[in-house]
Symmetry: C3
Subunit: 348 residues, 3 copies
Amino acid sequence: MKKVLLATTMLVAGASVAAADVTLSGDARMGLSNGFVTAPGALDPTGFTSRARVLFTMSGESDSGLSFGASFRAHDAAGAANGTKGSVFIQGAFGKLSMGDVDGAANAAVGHVDGVGLTGLGDLNESVFIANGGLDLGGAVTGDPSALYEYSFGTVTVYASVTQPTFDYTQPIALTLSGSALAVLPGRYQGDAYGLGAKYTIDSYTVSIGYERLELGRLVPAAPAASVKADHWIIGGDATFGDFTVKARYGKADVSVNNAAALDFEQASLSGTYKMDALSVTLFASDAQFTTPAGANAAEVRAIGLGASYDLGGGASVVGGIVDRTTQAGAAAKQSDTAFDLGVSLKF
Amino acid sequence: MKKVLLATTMLVAGASVAAADVTLSGDARMGLSNGFVTAPGALDPTGFTSRARVLFTMSGESDSGLSFGASFRAHDAAGAANGTKGSVFIQGAFGKLSMGDVDGAANAAVGHVDGVGLTGLGDLNESVFIANGGLDLGGAVTGDPSALYEYSFGTVTVYASVTQPTFDYTQPIALTLSGSALAVLPGRYQGDAYGLGAKYTIDSYTVSIGYERLELGRLVPAAPAASVKADHWIIGGDATFGDFTVKARYGKADVSVNNAAALDFEQASLSGTYKMDALSVTLFASDAQFTTPAGANAAEVRAIGLGASYDLGGGASVVGGIVDRTTQAGAAAKQSDTAFDLGVSLKF
Amino acid sequence: MKKVLLATTMLVAGASVAAADVTLSGDARMGLSNGFVTAPGALDPTGFTSRARVLFTMSGESDSGLSFGASFRAHDAAGAANGTKGSVFIQGAFGKLSMGDVDGAANAAVGHVDGVGLTGLGDLNESVFIANGGLDLGGAVTGDPSALYEYSFGTVTVYASVTQPTFDYTQPIALTLSGSALAVLPGRYQGDAYGLGAKYTIDSYTVSIGYERLELGRLVPAAPAASVKADHWIIGGDATFGDFTVKARYGKADVSVNNAAALDFEQASLSGTYKMDALSVTLFASDAQFTTPAGANAAEVRAIGLGASYDLGGGASVVGGIVDRTTQAGAAAKQSDTAFDLGVSLKF
């Protein structure tokens, strides 16, 4: 009773139909992994890792040529039904407008340097962003559906985004960086984050810039008035020289509480990826740090990673990586740990 | 790796195969919405709304020509696996028997007047029903899988339904109407609701009638014996005059506790929809009220809504609506609020 | 907007493409059922049963001819995304390696005698296994993703498996058999189970054997050291004589706590299935018992079941069954109960 999906409708059903369609694709992986320990002294065992996922992609076209669509993963179906997972878009001469669990504009424009490993190994190559990207003080003080607008003219793409304006964050805000708690702001806050970004590509070079701003006002108690604000600038550059691609990102942010400087943030990352036939090797380094207004360390995470991927064809690759992470909370002793994984990555 | 589904198997694989198949369809929407406030004085902000959903539809035919099938949405997969979401059916000369999260017979026969808006704006156009439809004293005192039987002869369709007989409602019953609590019945109840309905269509006119009865007995404590019963009659009429369709519904119910009249219920709704090429405009009004046996107001919800939809072709529409709602709990002051939305609705 | 999937890509898109694909299949059922009472004296009502499920099957092939794939049900999507539901595999000349919610090796090799009923009626025909199969002291002391390796040479298939080595069981262990609590081991344990199995098929005869071992060490408190271990041997035999198939399974296990014998376990089951055209009739009997080292009964479950299935063609069957179950906890009085069901089973 199993059926194989057809590669294209057009060959059979005839072209020129502005058909709306739902298609399936998938990915899976299996292998061994050793993660970062969650606490000093905790067990650090090596175990199995596996997963399988399906992606629904819906697409259509209106009579006037407006493209529209939506996509979400099967395991995100419940979130997609309320706008907090997956995304929906319409696209035309005016650009592309997306809504749902979309990236903020700075994230969409600048993004990340290359990462390593079958499982991502903590995704420590990734830049952090305010709008649903990690700099939002714990990851949940802004909400979806967010909106992202993109417009391309020639080699330039510009982006603008805003998170759900009605999102009501019902818990005290915990300022954290990779698990290190920096401060807790009691009360209940509401607000949103907006972002702007631009990306310019010429030949094999890309430069990008993004700006984001978060503004939260305390809802309960309303008096005395309290606010949390954050600004973030980030720039990026990619360059490809033959088989070698290098990427760099640098960002600076500051967080203020009740309009007084509370924390500064700085992040930098660099990656180099070398492709040779079926083999791809990536090395990256990253550093993200919160400092107090006096310049003392509040929390820092440094990482260096090395990984490789070998394409077996047909959608299968052998992928592995190793990442060394060093964390420091305030003036406490630095903690180092290594994570690694190896296995097969499958695309369907 | 993405594949487009084929519009029909028959063109390629040849006809005359009694194939059992699984197909995909989907819907999505994105826009702005302003909902009803959840409490007097609460924030009433306008924000983003978006969602994306996928529907699985399974169908087959037995050697003797019996049709069978099932369907559920991706985000209802867990409920569909235990019979509380989606539905399963078999259909033949005997009629159609469905099981799962099916409508009660009165709901299936009479249904609702037309609604407005991208998001439904509270679905205040909808009639309430006993069997999984709102009159079941909070919405959860009966359970699924329910069973619905339909049989059509000529222009008449008859319906019969019953909710899960073994459903055990483990909480005190809260009598509510649109959030207004009317009474709480302590203890733990078990029971079911059954329904009957009929629909007669001639030319562009449809009349419909439905009856439902709920019977709950107290399980814990068993003594002294306690019961909750409700009866509901509802009638409907639809008429289409050229591009204009008018629909009306009227229903009356009474709820008894321990065989003594506890609450009366009355509901009426009316809608008019005018279609002109790609444009469709709908206006509706509805009123639902619980009264005490003495005739005093227990809770009332009135609504009036206006909406429009413009078909862009290919499955896309621009849809918007506005609904004004007035609620009154007992002799308290009336509360009014307006909700509105606007965006694109997409079908795949 | 609904689409029927194409039976095969090859007819249209051309052969010789090592395509990676995602396909859909499904199953559903609806009918009446009367389950086992959950407690003596509880209600034992007959009600509706229905469900609908969709299965995603992904498959691909590497350039060198390595097969790979993954599968999971729609309602298991969240678990499949973290390796605890569904499974992923790669297969080549070296055999087949699967990971995820896979059976232990003994289960894969020996498995179960035939069962009855639309809903399984408690699946009391099923043998219990250590590795994710019931003998794991409550069903959750080992974790997924597990790994299963299979290799076939001629008529022999061998199996080896191990559960997630890093799985950390965070609760006290409750030794139970079909709901009867035998003992509770306080603390927090970590460990895994491994298994070996082999199956030999010649003509219409199959013999199989499996061995499993569970080893758990107490994590908290670490001192004094505490351990839970279990060994399980199981053998099976299937034979088909024309339209009649008989299956038998017999297994013995012992559980030790801190290296002292704690419980012995013995299970035996037998089934006979007779197929005549569209009709299939199955009778089974099973007995599973925990005894103390002194030989006294700790908990026993006996069952006898009778069922029939009539194939309507096209994927539909009428299926029904009845199972009588007798349970005894220690020296307490025996409890008997009967469960039955009847309905249609649908494959898509």
